[in-house]
């Protein structure tokens, strides 16, 4: 029991310690206040975070013995804690800096993204969470392959997982390197090596327990920092949003246009397609789905989605206020800008470090150099926590799905499987560093969209159809799942973002920005048609065994014995 309590206590102590550090550093750091180069407050606070999380990793490693400990934190996470961790997985540096930057650049349009990212959560709760918890053990492949062919479905699920993880991870690594270079004055290569090395340590030694607590601490720090910024902005306007909006309209070069849909959504098909990718992609992200196995039962799984939705909704409202605050605080202050050709300052793109730095500059404007340091350290911590979660889910797909079920065909033991997972985490970390380095100067913004599109077009349809449709067969899932995966990737490669902007061709083959509307349709129709066409004996057996799966997915009867906590 003591050991159980010690991790939450250590985490609470860390959050408190960060608060103390802020006050202790107040005197020397404020006069620094530099926007670039070395920020001593940021470095001290980041070191405090790293030391604290390494201590937690050490404690978690001592307590982690079984596979259930490694993959699912022994099922000992509460609904509230898991809600924070899920929200942490979702509140990446990209969504904090990216969405506030979008609001800064174009106002209303930024809100569209946050809404898209949020509305997937109710869908996860209504259609996925409970069934997942009742049927699965460690990965969503456990669920999809429950009554279907283990080998084939696990190959499909692991492929879907690794593709999503790879694109998501590259986007995070490149973003991390750029951000740390800017905030800490650290060389790009050093930055990604530090991120890669720390995530390997968290995952390989601490497994899900350490990854979860790193995520929880970071979520608290990020929510706290963002709350402070939003309150500071609102306080400046007497807590009257209308006053903030009208000041923003007066200040912004686009004027009143920032209050309405703008150029970003000129094409309805792309808008709807992106909306579907964001909404249903959430329900297919492997590192998020894995979190439902860290709680004790279906009730706790439900509660964790409820808390997560609340935290994420609150966070997006904060980023919206922060974006508008950045317009009013920064656009009239030339010290945040570099002049373009002929000494003309562009109030949007001229922002030092680009529009993604809007929140960081706002931190300096409302809280001085010290608070800037805090937000920089939190941004770094955020990247670490998110990449650790991604690495763990990639490593689990390799060890639990590919190794244990496909290569060893069940003839392995827990210790060996966990060791394979740890080795895989190291390999994924090294590959992520290399890819982060290779892609340094590429435009990787499309990769997060692609990760969501693949999750929505491969993982989600297979998961939904195998649990909800009696007629779904292995053949159907394989055909539809791979068709969704391949078509999503192909359509992105042939779209403007890659075909024209990266490869330099003149015209894009695929006219829309996001493939989900088409690739999801292909996946669902593929699963349906191929399942219908499959008249083999195996297909009949699979359909016949749906009832047993159905009873367990609805009631959880039989689930307790499958997963020892």
């Amino acid at each position: 029991m003591l050991r159980r309590l010690s991790l939450p206590l250590a985490a609470t102590a860390m959050i408190g310690a960060c608060g103390l550090l802020v006050s202790a550093l107040a005197a020397p750091a404020v006069e620094g206040g530099g926007k670039q180069g070395l920020n001593p407050a940021a470095i001290v606070m980041f070191f405090a975070f790293v030391l604290g999380t390494l201590y937690i990793t050490y404690r978690a490693a001592q307590g982690s013995k079984s596979a259930a400990d490694f993959y699912a934190a022994g099922g000992g996470i509460t609904g509230f804690q898991n809600g924070l961790a899920i929200a942490g997985d979702y509140m990446s540096a990209a969504s904090f800096l990216g969405i506030s930057g979008l609001v800064f650049a174009s106002g209303f349009d930024g809100l569209l993204y946050s809404i898209g990212f949020l509305v997937g959560w109710p869908i996860v709760l209504f259609l996925i969470a409970e069934r997942l918890r009742n049927l699965g053990k460690f990965t969503f492949a456990d669920v999809a392959s429950f009554r279907l062919d283990q080998t084939q479905i696990r190959i499909l699920s692991a492929t879907g997982t690794l593709v999503v993880v790879a694109f998501y991870l590259i986007a995070q690594m490149v973003g991390a390197g750029k951000l740390i270079e800017l905030l800490f004055g650290l060389d790009y290569l050093y930055a990604i090596v530090i991120v890669g090395a720390l995530m390997i340590v968290y995952v390989a030694f601490g497994g899900m327990k350490a990854t979860t607590w790193v995520q929880i601490i970071k979520a608290c720090l990020l929510l706290g920092g963002a709350t402070f910024m939003a309150l500071a902005v609102l306080w400046n306007f007497g807590f009257n949003p209308e006053a903030m909006f009208s000041e923003a309209v007066r200040t912004h070069p686009k004027g009143d246009a920032i209050m309405a849909p703008g150029g970003m959504v000129s094409d309805p098909v792309s808008t709807i397609s992106l909306g579907l990718a964001l909404m249903f992609g959430t329900a297919g992200l492997p590192h998020i789905l894995m979190r439902f196995f860290t709680v004790s039962d279906a009730q706790a799984a439900r509660k964790s989605v409820f808390y997560a939705t609340g935290f994420i909704a609150y966070f997006y409202i904060l980023t919206f206020i922060i974006g508008f605050g950045a317009i009013t605080f920064l656009m009239n202050d030339p010290s945040y800008y570099t002049a373009g050709a002929g000494g003309v300052v562009n109030k949007i793109t001229g922002l030092i470090g680009g529009t993604n730095m809007a929140a960081v500059h706002l931190a300096n404007a409302v809280g001085g150099g010290l608070f800037l340091g805090f937000i920089s350290a939190v941004a770094f911590a955020t990247i670490l926590a998110v990449v650790a979660g991604l690495t763990l889910s990639g490593a689990s797909a390799v060890s639990h799905d590919l190794y244990a079920e496909v290569i060893a065909r069940g003839r392995t033991n827990e210790r060996k499987e966990v060791n394979i997972s740890k080795i895989t985490a190291v390999v994924i970390g090294v590959v992520a560093i290399v890819l982060g380095y290779v892609f340094e100067n590429q435009n990787v913004a499309f990769m997060v969209g692609l990760a969501f599109a693949v999750a929505a077009s491969c993982n989600f349809p297979v998961l939904l159809m195998s649990t909800m449709w009696k007629g779904c067969t292995t053949f159907g899932a394989m055909v539809g799942g791979f068709a969704g995966l391949v078509s999503a990737v192909m359509m992105v490669v042939l779209s403007k973002a890659v075909w024209v902007q990266t490869f330099g061709f003149r015209e894009a083959w695929f006219p829309y920005d996001n493939p989900a509307l088409f690739s999801m349709t292909i996946a669902f129709v593929g699963i349906w048609m191929a399942s219908k066409a499959d008249s083999s004996q195996r297909a009949r057996d699979e359909v016949a065994s749906y009832d047993a799966q159905y009873v367990r997915s609805e009631t959880g009867i039989g689930a307790a014995s499958a997963h020892q906590h």
Binding site: P268, G275, R302
Partner: protein
Amino acid sequence: MVQSDHQRILGNPKFQELVRTRSGFAWTLAAAMLAIYLGFILLVAFAPGLMAVKVGGGVTSLGIVLGLAVIVSAFLLTGIYVQRANSRFDDLTRDLTKEIV
């Protein structure tokens, strides 16, 4: 689970009631969320002028108000489901489990 076990549960009226009420409830809420979100996206895509209409006499637009309302509705819908599931549906599941075992 033994073969006959799930047959017995499938035929149990409590199980049938649980599944019927819960899946009806879940699909209704999912459809509501989808309708709210797609409705919002379609308005943005096809009626951007309407979204720019001012409300309350200031610069605040209908789009901003509706956008924030979509965010709040997502949270409320999850709250409604969890409240219902953690009381009524869990009671039904408990009763059913007791009856079976």
